[in-house]
Point group: none
Chain length 198, copies 4
DNA sequence: GATGAATGAGCTTTCATTCAT
DNA sequence: AATGAATGAAAGCTCATTCAT
């Protein structure tokens, strides 16, 4: 990895942190430059605009989370266990490196205007959505998960986890995030598993 | 309702629409004034700042959604039906008056800095959270819902619905929002209901 | 004339002076604001951009010069005298209020990119060109000026005067501008008059 | 011509093209470097600044046009023919290599601040003015041109041609530039020739 | 000679808020 | 209550020039 690529990466990490903590508009270019110990002008040798940086970052974050899910997909275990692992890793990430998930919540979810041109549909979060699709369809194929519309399942899984990370960020949970892992995974499994003959 | 209260209400409705469509920072005071056919200066006779307006609006939206849930809570039916009704009304609202829900997603969720002073914890969305608490505890008391941590249940319910409204707003659902109502309600019920003796 | 119109006019006059002396790019918005004793921000209540101001100014200048030529066109005298009067007034203007003519030379002539959108063809200098057209066609109709392509005549007349004002601005003329009036008018008349039967 | 001189020449030609097309301020150092396939840093091994390049270029262009006029001056023909030849060559240049003439119009004429130090008076365009002087004084000596102030004649000749090239650049001439050659030369001759005894 | 990352001052423009009317 | 001109700080971005390599 050459020097320029390395610095590009460093800008990504630094600005991701700032954006995820303060939001897109409350993070200024001087803020980023200052934290990078570089001049504002030099920033533009690496990214052509604040917006293009934001778009790069959503891909970057999506890749990170996507890779995490893929690692679970590649394991040899049933859907119940996979759900537990995904939830657990997700919460672990939320605690240890919250910037990836917070960026989704604080920047991507809320500032459509930034992602209008260049991130239509969900192309900028494709790597993450794709892995969820693989997880879900695998489970269905193996007869472990009920065959339902993908978005019904996806919305449940990801809305739930995202919502929980938000609640945690608001400091209103009565316990640490990871302690909810089991309960949350259980609920998800109840919702997605095949119907018991009753 | 006197003239001033009426105009205050009108400002709330108008700015809610703008904020929910364009976000907090991309909506300017002149934008609001123009849509209101009033001067920027006069706006400050009704609200002391853009931020205080935003805070008023989250209470306003929370009340609206809270009232909707209360109307379900007051009905005489079991938790399964209540879930169906809440989901159905929520999706109906998302289609017919999206501003209340979009405001949560686009403004409240993303711009913590605005709600830092004055909306700590979840005091500005209390009316809505309270109703969800009532729904949940009622169901538990009646033996219809599994007794679990409130936030585990709340996060599932609200994260799921919020996430779905987001997906719908992104135009990536393969069908209209209301057609998912049954599936979504079913999933929620599966996750929250008491364990079957199996 | 209301207060706002008056101030708009004042901005036009002030910025015209600056642009004509220093050029478009070397004149900054703070320069203009400072000379106006107003804030930069307030400027944008009067003009939407620096470019739109520049476009307004070329129309403004064209009108001024056009009016001057019209005053000659309306006089009852032959083309020879009209030429003398136009040249004389043009040089008088160049000495007393050089900003109108210098703006043509320093801003309009040289910075095409500014006038690309909104001033295509010569629409922004139409009032001035039109008067020259009237002068020329009158002279031809009266049998005083040779019937030739309008642009051949226009280019001679206006290129000559413009060039002279430039030379004067460079301080290389060996006498004051107005002293050249007679010679210049004579040359123009020689070039444009009907051919003598020889 | 050694390598360095050659590259210097190449920079002159390349930047002349850019400046004449986009103007001084709208042409950036990276623009020039890119078109040259060289680095910005290296540029400064050849010219000490953007301004000094611009000054070099006006001398360069003046020499080019001056040489063209000298070639006519050296011919053995009367002033009428010389005028025709100068006009014809000037228009030919304007069509085939417009950069030399456009540079006068778009850069030299308009951006005095650039040529303030180092090009006072007309020293940077001396080679071109000198040839015009020779043309004119020759004609007077030979009794073909009326004896008048040099600038009166120079302003007519050059203002006219410059103005015409501008009109042509604006695409408002109703025919191609070269078709006006005869008319323009005729007008100039009428203005400059000795008075007929009438 | 050659590179291009880095600088830093300065550009145009925006915008919440104020205040004289 | 109402107006909208005025403010001023700060935003995103540009660019001639330098300098370590």
């Amino acid at each position: 990895m050459d020097k320029k690529t390395k610095k590009t990466e460093l800008i990504l990490e630094t600005s991701l942190l700032l954006f995820s903590q303060k939001g897109f508009y409350a993070t200024t270019m001087p803020d980023i430059a200052k934290k990078m110990n570089m001049s504002v002008g030099n920033f533009y040798n690496y990214f052509s605009s604040k917006e293009s940086l934001a778009q790069e970052l959503i891909r970057y974050s999506s890749d990170k989370v996507g890779a995490m899910i893929r690692s679970v997909n590649e394991e040899d275990c049933d859907s119940k266990e996979k759900i537990e692992k995904i939830v657990s890793l997700y919460f672990k990430l939320a605690v240890e490196k919250p910037q990836y998930l917070d960026y989704f919540l604080r920047v991507y979810l809320a500032n459509k205007e930034i992602f209008k041109d260049g991130c239509e549909g969900m192309v900028c979060v494709a790597s993450f959505v794709t892995e969820m699709m693989i997880f879900f369809e695998d489970g269905v194929r193996k007869g472990e998960l009920r065959d339902q519309n993908f978005f019904s399942a996806f919305g449940l899984f990801m809305g739930y986890l995202g919502g929980f990370v938000f609640l945690n960020g608001e400091n209103i949970l009565d316990n640490n995030l990871e302690s909810f892992s089991k309960d949350v995974a259980f609920n998800i499994y109840q919702a997605l598993k095949v119907h018991e003959a009753s």
